[in-house]
Amino acid sequence: MSILLDRTNRVLIQGATGQMGTFFVEDARKYGTKIVAGVSPGREGTTVGGDVPVFASVRTAREETGADSAIVFVPPAAVLGATIEAIEAGCRLVVATADELPVLDTIEIRAAARANGTAFVGPNSPGIISPGKAKLGFMPSFCYKEGNVGVISRSGSLSYEGSKRLTVAGIGQSTVIGIGGDPVKGTTAAEALELFHNDPETSAVLYLGEIGGSEEVFVAEYASRAGAKPVAALIVGQTAPPGKKMGHAAALIGSKAEGHQAKIAMLREAGVHIANGVGEVVSATRAALASHAKATAAA
């Protein structure tokens, strides 16, 4: 299995006729993703990627094609409108990769997603991929391989690097989810962990985090829970100075607890397998998988 995304998702693309949208249609279909519709108001009646019909609204696209999941490729100022349209039209999964989205808009989208029981992934995220099944995002496909490690990442590029290292080492992934670099998230680390916890195919979780924010508190909370799946973690930003925003809005050390040392100490205390630097991602994940094998054998 996997979380949120597998072969059954029928995907519509908002902003399908833009540059990102066109690239995505071709790339994601090649990977096996079922792209059934595009939504671009004013361009209805045309097609993208050769034969994918374009509609004026998400509602029509859903009625005509049975689409149940959406990915949004529109400029930041239009993301709020597009995602809420998809959420209120009843999509079960909505992915918004956009960065530079005002946080107030994310707050509103998250509230709408909650009220409608929709899973919302993003913003400021590469999206989500269930290797060997489908991808909703623009991550490079060759970095991934089907398997039993769930990956959660605050950073897109770091999730490519981390996943590729696992893949090269022969460790596959159940789902890789980019929760994004913003302070308010569609899906939080805690929620992603809960999904992986309930996914029988996932044996261990690799968490790729950063300095700043409090997301890692929940990773530690999960890891110290009885019956938790083993967790490996990398926290980047050891060399980041306090008080400066390191690209991501949430990657800012505002207090000691948000620094690298405090986060590592807290995660270690909770029994998380720590990778000291991106070079140790594979060994930390192996250690997590080994402790899962041991726990399974004992049970």
Binding site: L101, L104, E108, S153, V184, K185, G277
Partner: protein, 379 residues
């Protein structure tokens, strides 16, 4: 983006929050005359207008009792660097008769899925050393409930008249934050004056820079920030690059915040020191996008080696490789450049790199170790 105290107070005052009646004195201009005509009642507080925290502890707030002393104190503050920057202005306010200093803030918080309100009955410069403030997780701004905040404050603020004033102010601050795209509004101290009135004695307001498209003030702040930067950095910021200067000698041109930090950490692991955090991924992945990044690092005497590390998904590597070819062809600097490109269409990179004699390292470890070696040789 942090507003200066007097800008933040102006925003709060426009929404009816009580703030002291102050006068802003700008450096450089006719400030001696401005003081003489604008400040008549004493004592006053003279406050350096800087964006770094901890101003009070660094002597950035002074009391002046008589008019004769004022020019000397203003000049001293304008000449002092706080967190590396000299203030462009000071704010002169009447010295407040404060009965009690408390703390109130509204901030975006991931755990709260929106805004959180924090209150402490004891505020002031030592707020971080005291017990943590009480938290009311509001969430989306329209979910603020007076009765819920009252429940949070019930046990920690026994003065009910003051408590009700604080709650009303918190409600107003949440509204202001949402209307004006503020990620933080912090009032410390929130002063209780001797007559029981409430006054925002200080204000730290942080605006969400990504709301620039719908807020002229934020747009203006972004432009002003670029103007404060030197020309080389300005060209880079114009390409939406994210830059933080560090104290090492390896100039890092990177893509993605997480990978940039991962590369910085690995440089340190190999015994080197990064000269910057420079994430070029929000800008165009073309020659136009990368040219200013190279110009800035080539022009920085601190930088000995440049390491280009990009792992792209939506960013296609053949485009980045072609941009590198063009930038290298027009570049005059002799500083060595080390490359590590990976991601979408990376298989096309070796063919392009061959055309200008560059080598693409397959792994980050190899590229970092080469850069650290070259930096050591240059030192």
């Amino acid at each position: 983006m942090m507003m200066l105290e007097h800008e933040g107070k102006q925003l709060l005052a426009s929404a009816g929050v009580p703030v002291p009646r102050g006068k802003v004195i700008h450096a450089g201009s006719r400030w001696v005359e401005d003081i003489a005509s604008g400040v008549t009642a004493f004592p006053v507080a003279v406050k350096a207008q800087v964006r770094s925290g901890g101003r009070g502890k660094q002597g950035g707030v002074r009391q002046v009792k008589v008019a004769d002393e004022l020019p000397r104190v203003v000049k001293a503050l304008l000449d002092t660097a706080f967190g590396g920057d000299k203030p462009d202005a000071v704010l002169i306010e009447p010295w407040l008769g404060i009965e009690r200093e408390s703390y109130l803030s509204v901030a975006v918080d991931g755990r709260a899925e929106g805004y959180v309100v924090m209150y402490s009955p004891r505020g002031g410069v030592d707020i971080e050393e005291g017990p943590p403030p009480a938290r009311y997780a509001v969430g989306a701004p329209w979910n603020f409930r007076v009765h819920e905040m009252r429940r949070v404050l019930q046990d920690i603020e026994p003065d009910y008249q003051w408590r009700e004033k604080v709650i009303a102010l918190a409600q107003r601050l949440v509204r202001i934050a949402a209307m004006h795209d503020c990620s933080t509004i912090e009032i410390n101290p929130l002063a209780k004056l001797s007559d029981g009135a409430l006054m925002a004695a200080d204000a730290k307001v942080v605006r969400d820079e990504w709301a620039h498209f719908r807020n002229a003030e934020i747009h203006g702040m972004r432009e002003a920030e670029k103007q404060r930067a030197d020309t080389l950095l300005r060209d880079s910021l114009d390409m939406q690059h994210m830059y933080v200067r560090l104290d090492g000698d390896i100039g890092l041109i990177s893509g993605g915040a997480g990978m940039t930090m991962a590369a910085m950490d690995m440089i340190a692991e190999h015994g080197g020191r990064p000269a910057c955090f420079l994430d070029c991924s929000p800008g165009p992945t073309s020659t136009r996008g990368y040219r200013p990044a190279f110009a800035m690092l080539d022009g920085d005497p601190q930088v000995k080696v440049i390491l280009v590390s990009v792992f792209g998904g939506g960013t296609q590597m053949q485009r980045v490789a072609n941009a590198m070819k063009e930038v290298m062809a027009e570049r005059k600097s002799k500083k060595p450049v080390v490359f590590r490109l990976d991601g979408t269409n990376v298989d096309q990179v070796p063919g392009i790199f061959e055309q200008f004699g560059a080598h693409n390292h397959a792994r980050l470890e190899e590229a970092v170790s080469a850069a650290v070696r070259l930096a050591g040789r240059a030192a």
